[in-house]
């Protein structure tokens, strides 16, 4: 186990706003914490609650969903679906003992490269303060992975 805890964040970013904002952060050479791993989905509405649970189950210390601002969804209202699911799932996660700061939904438009930095840095700091979600080896760890692929 590493001595210093580095949070592992899985980020689901919508293709049209937040993914582009992260691209803009790149082209603007804005620096931020390297802890997030972005998974691209077409719309934040595609984020199945199971994705979030799967991420936590595989050892994510935090899950971030990034979508277009209300009213700006490329698909009109997918982000509203994301919001509703987020609200429900948040309570469920809390009951499972997963702190609120570990699960976050943010509206980040394609022009808000700096918000990507701010949100990821903030989330990493908050999750770092909470410590790892699991302190023991997780499902999908090295042994399982080797077994799965023979």
């Amino acid at each position: 186990m590493p001595e210093l805890f580095e949070p592992r964040i899985v980020a689901f970013f919508c293709n049209w706003c937040t993914y582009l904002a992260a691209d803009l952060a790149g082209t603007s050479r804005i620096k931020y914490a390297p802890n997030a791993r972005v998974i691209r989905v077409m719309c934040s509405g595609r984020v199945d609650p199971q994705f979030v649970l799967e991420a936590f189950a595989h050892g994510a210390d935090g899950v971030l969903i990034g979508g277009c601002h209300p009213g700006d969804c490329h698909y009109q209202e997918g982000n509203y679906s994301a919001l509703r699911r987020f609200q429900l799932l948040k309570h469920l996660l809390k009951d499972m003992g997963i702190e609120e700061e570990r699960f976050r939904l943010e509206w980040i438009s394609a022009s808000e490269g700096d918000k990507v930095r701010a949100v990821i840095n903030d989330m990493v700091e908050k999750v770092r303060a909470l410590g790892p979600l699991r302190k023991y080896p997780v499902v999908g760890g090295p042994l399982e992975e080797v077994a799965a692929y023979g």
């Binding site: 390297p34 791993r37 989905v41 077409m42 199971q50 994510a60 394609a110 023979g150």
Partner: protein, 664 residues
């Protein structure tokens, strides 16, 4: 979770990591990433290359697929928004289905945003591991082909919209040109001379305006706005709201006798075209060369609209032509177009936002656009540069960068102000022989023949003072002049310079309703609020919404040559789509696995496009692929996992999640 067809032999993945010169390799240890990738399950080959997107880079993929019998490709390089298509194409040319490919973004999302090399390298490994695990599950997919409508909508009738419309119309396409104002021409129609050639704006613009009106392939709708846009590339249905002009365009011959006959003997309404520097009547024409050559009645000020008791001398003088119709109502038009060009232009920075320059307080502080009208031969003063009291100015100060390059207003450079300031300085000098001062931060004259213009004009006896004006106030001696206080950064001293006239070189801003327009057309805005292009260099007129293009200042400040060039490019891009006769749509639509679907209908109300219907006979949901836009919201809503989205199947995303989190 759906069953996947796995061939008997294990999948062979080829992983390619791009150096992007030093853009990626400077931060990420590419050799280490390659060694890691090569050891991943299913990876048959891992290679690095300096520039994967180059032809030799793509050739590597094509050859390796053949030589090493690869059946999946992963490229770790820049953003998929930039080169996903490039590499899918290379994969296809190598003989594989183009969707047997996954791109990993290790530049924008990694090497460019992190400084810790170890952490950045680890991130690249995690992302590649996820892609390898995901790409194994990819299925062969086909792009859908749909017919494209050949009509084009151009929004905005400034020089950008005019040029784009004419280019397309000349190529035989039918164009709808929609303009909000009563006339086309835009800001260019308000200018006097254009830099750097000093040819008159009207002389080069008005023939094009007339050509628009007379072109058989152009339908021109002025006083009109787009109200709704539906559909997708190739098949947009657009609703246009045509506001009443109260004058029938087909009947009015532009004799302007009604203006003469109006019961208002004196013009009393501030004239918008002259920025309030002159007055107009309630019935008016924006400017003599307006297109269409049709008057317009302003219901806000017309007595007939206010009281209903006007003598209607305008109707009387119009006589048998009967062109005036006070009953005219708003019209809603619905059109079908294949592509759309947005050329909605810019707004001039409101100089009142910088109070210490005194615009709106001191009468002889003008904006540059007002100064344009003063220098214009058909302007309110007939081209004479006059103070508000009618005197000729003896000294003039032009303040650059008003609302540009300033943390408190706009950080960006508006690009045209240095040049138009030099032009105005030259015209003012020529016509009044006044002392002309230019106060600049940096003189920016990048452009063909611009620097030569600067040298020529600067040599013409004007003062160029490098410094930002701090204050404009009345001269203390009470002679009615204005005192400019400026730190001359070349002399290193504060100077106070009295002038008669101040011209503020106001910058260019996005239109006030740019955000609403952006939503209407489902495109993005950059940080400053201008419409966002797909790529700043390689797709400067495309947007992220296929079939919608940008031209002119709605995309960012630019001068007339650049605007016209961009409008031509937008027209060409539009033509390229339309002329193909069909468009290919991404295959990332949703589909139902019928054997799993329980017929619960959860998916149906979440679809914003009414693409899902319920088939009673089968008790299953069904997706109409033509209507489906591929957001995947229904997939996330489906409780049984029977709704799946191509390229984003549950199992594919699960593998990606597992992949980014698996310990190395």
């Amino acid at each position: 979770m759906s069953p996947h067809d796995e061939s008997a032999s294990p999948v062979r993945v080829g992983v390619y990591v791009c150096h992007c010169g030093t853009n990626i390799a400077g931060t990420i240890d590419v050799h280490d990433v390659i060694a890691f990738s090569a050891a991943l399950p299913n990876v048959a080959l891992a290679r690095e290359y300096k520039y994967m997107c180059s032809d030799p880079g793509q050739e590597l993929i094509r050859k390796d697929i053949q030589e090493y019998n690869l059946d999946r490709i992963v490229v770790a390089a820049c953003s998929p928004c930039l080169h996903e298509r490039t590499f899918r194409h290379a994969t296809e040319q190598g003989g594989l289905n183009p969707y047997y490919f996954q791109m990993v973004n290790v530049r924008e999302h990694d090497s460019w945003v992190h400084t810790d090399k170890r952490a950045a390298t680890q991130k690249a490994k995690d992302l590649i591991r996820a892609a390898v695990r995901r790409v194994k599950l990819h299925r062969p997919l086909e792009r859908r082909r749909v017919a494209i409508k050949s009509e084009v909508l151009v929004v905005g009738g400034g020089i950008a919209g005019i040029h784009a419309a004419l280019t397309l119309a000349n190529a035989g396409k039918h164009v709808y040109l929609v303009e909000r104002e009563p006339t086309i021409g835009g800001h260019m129609a308000q200018f006097d001379k254009t830099f750097p050639t000093l040819d008159c704006a009207a002389c080069i613009l008005t023939p094009k305006m007339t050509a628009v009106k007379s072109h058989p392939n152009i339908t021109l709708w002025t006083l009109s706005e787009v109200a709704q846009v539906q559909g997708y590339v190739g098949n947009y249905t657009v609703t246009v709201r045509r506001k009443p002009r109260y004058v029938l365009e087909d009947l009015c011959i532009g004799c302007l006798e009604c203006i003469e006959a109006c019961v208002y003997k004196q013009a009393k309404v501030p004239d918008e075209f002259n920025l309030g520097l002159s007055k107009r009547k309630p019935v008016y024409i924006s400017f003599p060369q307006a297109v269409p050559q049709v008057v317009v009645i302003d219901p806000e000020t017309c007595i007939e609209f206010k009281s209903g008791k006007c003598k209607k001398t305008c109707v009387e003088v119009c006589g048998e032509r009967n062109a005036i119709d006070f009953q005219q109502k708003e019209e809603i038009k619905t059109i079908e177009v294949g592509t759309i060009i947005l050329a909605t232009g810019f707004e001039v920075f409101d100089a009142r936002r910088i109070p210490y320059y005194g615009y709106g307080v001191y009468p002889n502080v003008y904006t540059a656009l007002e100064a344009e009208r003063l220098t214009n031969a058909s302007g309110p003063t007939g081209g004479e540069i006059l103070l508000r009291d009618g005197r000729k100015p003896k000294s003039v100060g032009i303040i650059h960068c008003v609302g540009s390059r300033d943390e408190h207003t706009n950080r960006y450079c508006s690009r045209v102000c240095c040049m138009y300031s030099l032009k105005l300085a030259h015209l003012i000098k020529e016509r009044t022989d006044a002392e002309v001062y230019n106060f600049y931060i940096d003189m920016r004259t990048a452009g063909k023949a611009f620097e030569e213009f600067y040298n020529r004009v600067a040599g013409g006896g004007m003062y160029l003072i490098r410094g930002k004006v701090a204050d404009v106030c009345p001269a203390p001696n009470g002679d009615g002049r204005l005192m400019l206080q400026v730190e001359d950064t070349l002399l290193g001293m504060v100077r106070k310079i009295p002038v008669d006239l101040v011209v503020l070189a106001t910058g260019l801003e996005p239109q006030k309703d740019a955000q609403e327009v952006r939503r209407l057309f489902n495109i993005g805005c950059s940080t400053e609020g201008f419409f966002l292009e797909r790529h700043p260099k390689l797709a400067p007129v495309n947007t992220f919404t296929d079939g919608i293009f940008l031209a002119g200042c709605c995309q960012g400040p630019k001068d007339i040559p650049d605007t016209v060039a961009q409008a031509g490019a937008a027209a060409a891009e539009s033509l390229a789509l339309v002329d193909a006769g069909f468009v290919e749509l991404e295959p990332n639509t949703a589909h139902v696995l019928e054997e799993v679907c329980s017929g619960c209908r959860t998916c149906i109300p979440v679809c914003p496009f009414q693409a899902i219907s319920f088939v009673h006979e089968k008790n299953k949901a069904e997706v109409n692929e033509v209507l489906c836009k591929g957001c995947g919201t229904c997939v996330a809503a489906c409780p049984s996992g029977s709704m799946q989205q191509n390229l984003f199947e549950d199992q594919e995303v699960f593998e990606e999640i597992g992949g980014v989190l698996a310990y190395a």
